[in-house]
Symmetry: C2
Subunit: 256 residues, 2 copies
């Protein structure tokens, strides 16, 4: 995660539009709030209480209030939050007022699916270009976009003013591709390749590794199995499960 945080502006505090310098954990939750808010808006709700929005987003209500307070708090005590206004606020903070152009590199198994994923388009992004190193794949049309050779990356990226690069190549190809993206000026990368990317300072990389997610689940599965296997260790209330399962009330570890 983030390491050095600039100490913070001394006392100047001009009329800066909105650079609240949010805590990273808050930033990671805002998109979830946004999704829940859109759901509520579609359902006809005009206002929500922190409690309502919190459960819709799967978090604690106190946490949600604190998160929202960081971005200026547009709630009304005794009433709740104005759904439309809050959507506007969050989208503004997340920089979603402009639809950002995304370049996807690697149109293999996973990349192909990503190229066709409509969740991107519906949530503020536009897949602007597809690239692959395999000549056999160049020229193929996916979702109205033609796959180009990765050598054209620098030219096309400039034309389309790419803001974010998505890497869905095999691990071996990921680093060179990242270097190319950085060279073109891309400063945000979403990496699906199972490897560590080395990028210059100022470039953000987020990694999604599907196998890792499964392995984390495997650990918990393993632990649960061990626990039930030897019921001798006192404590744990779940040993007493009668026939069925406890009513759903908690929720779980969403990867931070």
């Amino acid at each position: 995660m983030s390491q050095h945080r600039h100490p913070g502006a001394p006392g100047s505090a001009g009329a800066v539009p909105a650079l609240p310098d949010l805590p990273e954990a808050t930033v990671a939750r805002l998109p979830e709030y946004l999704r829940a808010l859109h759901n509520l808006a579609d359902g006809g709700h005009e206002t929500v209480s922190s409690e309502g929005l919190a459960t819709a987003a799967g978090v604690n209500s106190a946490k949600l209030r604190k998160d929202l307070s960081h971005l200026g708090s547009y709630g009304t005590r005794g009433v709740g939050y104005d759904v439309a206004l809050l959507i506007e606020q969050i989208e503004s903070v997340l920089g979603l007022t402009q639809r950002r152009a995304v370049a996807l590199v690697g149109v293999g198994n996973l990349g192909h699916a990503l190229a066709g994923y409509d969740g991107f388009a519906s949530r503020g992004f536009r897949i602007a270009a597809l690239f692959d190193a395999d000549p056999a794949r160049v020229g193929e049309e996916i979702n109205g976009l033609v796959v180009r050779h990765v050598d054209e990356l620098s030219r096309v990226a400039a034309e389309e003013s790419i803001a974010i690069g998505v890497i869905a190549t095999p691990a071996a190809a990921a680093q060179p591709v990242a270097d190319q993206l950085v060279a073109v000026g891309v400063t945000s990368i979403l990496n699906f390749a199972p490897c560590v990317l080395s990028v210059p300072e100022g470039v953000d990389v987020r990694k999604v590794d599907l196998a890792i997610e499964l392995q984390i689940l495997s650990f918990h599965e393993h632990r649960k199995a061990s626990l039930t296997a030897l019921p001798a260790t006192g404590g744990s209330a779940l040993t007493a499960l009668p026939g069925g399962l406890a009513a759903n009330d908690s929720q779980e570890a969403i990867g931070t």
Copy 2:
């Protein structure tokens, strides 16, 4: 993230094989170490220093040492860690000694790609069954597996002794599918649908939302753009940059 933490075994501590009750943050990093270790092993290395493994895994060396110390520390001072031994250790802790069976529900755009993703098979998992609710997709063969109707889930899951369920359905279908998985006894779920799942206690859910990842990147992109746009805010050492464009000085956040 995780909420219920069993208070911890009182004082019994028998000769339990290995239930070190690792910190969640450590668990989330172990798979990354494992991947790096396999790379090293393939490269012919027999031992690694914490520094070497740390950079290969993209983390701080102190953090890595502390992580490994939690699981019993099989390193040798002055030398480093035995690669093969450490692999064995981590795989054991993660419960990867047995190849766990995974059921994938929802063979749409993304699900199709997941079904064909070889990263699962090569890292300890076996996709044992595919399901979909759309009759048009039932019967299709993907990677040697036939897509079955979701109604058969309970029967097939029992036969294959499914350990983990992966949900790749549209958001609206995710909750019913999760309920079915839970009913069959699945206690670990990986959810790709953009919605919050409600599950009983004892069931672990991890969520992967691709749009959310992009939105987090968008925030940082937005922030970086705002920073370079207005160099007026006092303090910050980057005002003194001569030419203009603030040389890269901030940093990147690799998702935790």
